[in-house]
């Protein structure tokens, strides 16, 4: 279609060149050409509308056919067109898809997180938050698409990525038979940290978290909140550039949660990039520079808490969350 129009313009242009001296003929040619272009333009718009409608149909069908969701994607929007990777990007997610048998947990997420940003990943249970993080830290292989973490591709350079990240898993994972300090030292040694630096950092974290006294006791005797704090200390012991915090404050009492918020806020002060998933929307609102809301494996909203509140005419982020995810439930998406 496009070539036909170009050819026609070429032919008309050549004719026009011959009749350059005949102004009347020239004007007629210009009018005719404008008419042609206008009709072709309408034709093209018509086709594009049809393509859009077809794509929407395909997307609707994708939801109905298990296992097919990730196979068809928009051809018009390539990640290269969206992203401009530069040194200010900590994480670039390109068309990320994760399929488990017939369930699409993550469905074509595109996202860019800047260095030093505290980014909140929100979403209802089973929305795909943890699966996304697991792909970024190398625990899961993407079915399609990829992600660049700290300048390295998760599909090729996992070992480089693992040296610069810290992960606080949703399920507090510590060795119960080890003392708090032994747990921290074990993971510090797995990052091949200098013994002196490791001790200093461990001391600082235990002091700041209020676990100093308990650090020489076996984790078996810790309360749920203390275990979660130890879980967080282990994630930060290697002074990571990029920190993934998956529901770090679940099960903490309000005081411990506030303390952890201070911890997370300090990371921002140190120019660390933090990716935080949480169910506590007020936590994201208080801490995050930007948030992304995931539902059914898709990124359905992105922006700073203020931007999202303004856009959705909401008093707080929780209202935004309920409006977006609630509407999708009602629409049966």
């Amino acid at each position: 279609m496009k070539n036909k129009i170009i050819n026609k313009i070429g032919v008309n242009y050549k004719m026009a060149m011959k009749d350059m001296n005949d102004k009347e003929k020239m004007q007629k040619l210009i009018d005719k050409l404008t008419q042609d272009l206008s009709s072709k333009d309408k034709e093209i718009v018509g086709y594009l509308n049809k393509i859009d409608a077809l794509e929407e149909d395909i997307l609707r069908l994708q939801k109905l056919i298990p296992g097919e969701a990730s196979k068809i994607k928009s051809k018009r929007e390539k990640p290269e067109d969206i992203f401009d990777p530069d040194s200010t990007s900590a994480i670039i997610i390109k068309d990320l898809v994760k399929q488990f048998d017939d369930v699409t947990a993550v469905n074509g997420i595109n996202l860019e997180i800047k260095k030093g940003e505290l980014f909140g990943l929100l979403g209802p249970n089973g929305a795909g938050k943890t699966t996304t993080i697991n792909m970024l830290v190398g625990l899961l292989n993407p079915t399609e698409g990829t992600a660049i973490v700290g300048g390295y591709d998760v599909k090729r350079d996992l070992s480089k990525i693992k040296e610069m990240i810290g992960v606080c898993p949703q399920k507090a994972s510590v060795y119960k038979f080890l003392k708090g300090r032994e747990n921290v030292e074990l993971f510090g040694n797995l990052f091949e940290m200098d013994k002196k630096v490791l001790k200093e950092r461990a001391d600082r974290f235990f002091e700041a978290s209020g676990l100093k006294e308990a650090s020489n006791r076996k984790a078996k005797g810790y309360s749920g909140g203390m275990i979660r704090q130890l879980n967080l200390i282990i994630a930060l012991i290697n002074d990571p550039e990029i920190v993934f915090l998956d529901e770090p404050t679940v099960g903490m009492d309000p005081r411990a949660r506030r303390k952890t918020w201070t911890f997370i806020g300090d990371l921002k002060q140190q120019d660390k990039t933090v990716i935080l998933t949480t169910h506590y929307i007020e936590e994201a609102e208080a801490l995050c520079d930007r948030v992304g809301i995931i539902d059914y494996g898709e990124l359905i909203a992105l922006g700073s808490p203020k931007e999202l509140m303004k856009k959705h005419d909401a008093k707080n982020l929780e209202e935004v969350f309920m409006k977006i995810t609630g509407r999708r439930i009602l629409e049966g998406v």
Partner: protein, 247 residues
Amino acid sequence: MIQRVLALVKMELLKLIREPANLFLNLLFPAILTLVFGLAFGGLGGGDSSLFNTMAPGLFAYACIFLIMTVSMSFTDDRENGLLKRINVTPTTSTQFIGSHIITNLFIAVLQLAIVFLLSLLMGFRPSVDVFGVIMAFIFMLFLSLCSVGLGLITATIAKSAGAATGISFIFILPQMFFGTFVPLTEATRVIAAFLPSYYVTEAITTIFNGVSPFAVEILMQLGIIALMSIGIVILGIFLFKKYGKV
């Protein structure tokens, strides 16, 4: 790399000391077993010491076979508690992680053998062996413990929980206990025994303790067989656990 492996070995050894189930299965159980068998069949208990002399090499293998259970329990337990995932997001490679398990279990095997050997001597076991023979017996036991680590990994691949691992590990433990240690073999069970690592180890150690040179051809052949078996089982275990172990 060494810092990582040493840290993991230290953690595993602390687990051995601090977890009662591990301590019992790895160190107390072989000791109790030796004492019970010694009292029942050894000269100290008034029994026929020559019978205990025949049984003692099998007891060494017995202790080592139970490593299958502790290794599989350790892996499944760590997996259930999310610790394998946690280690997986550090720069530690799977070779370093499994390597640390192998080193720890070789160390435990040496401890077990020392305990069983000393207690057997106490209970009237009198092997006609020189220092080279004892060293060779230790080498055989190390290969058997390597087999146990591999079989433990295979068990952990199949088992969904630490409890299930305990039960499933008996698939590998029982045949080795009955057809590969001191229980007399029939024509039929000898065929089964040919596939069991403990059979070759018990045979070799019994021969060595009967005064045959540890460098005799038959001993070296058995060493070759157990070495190949252990390497094959460990490689298979690592492959299966990495592929299907849901780390």
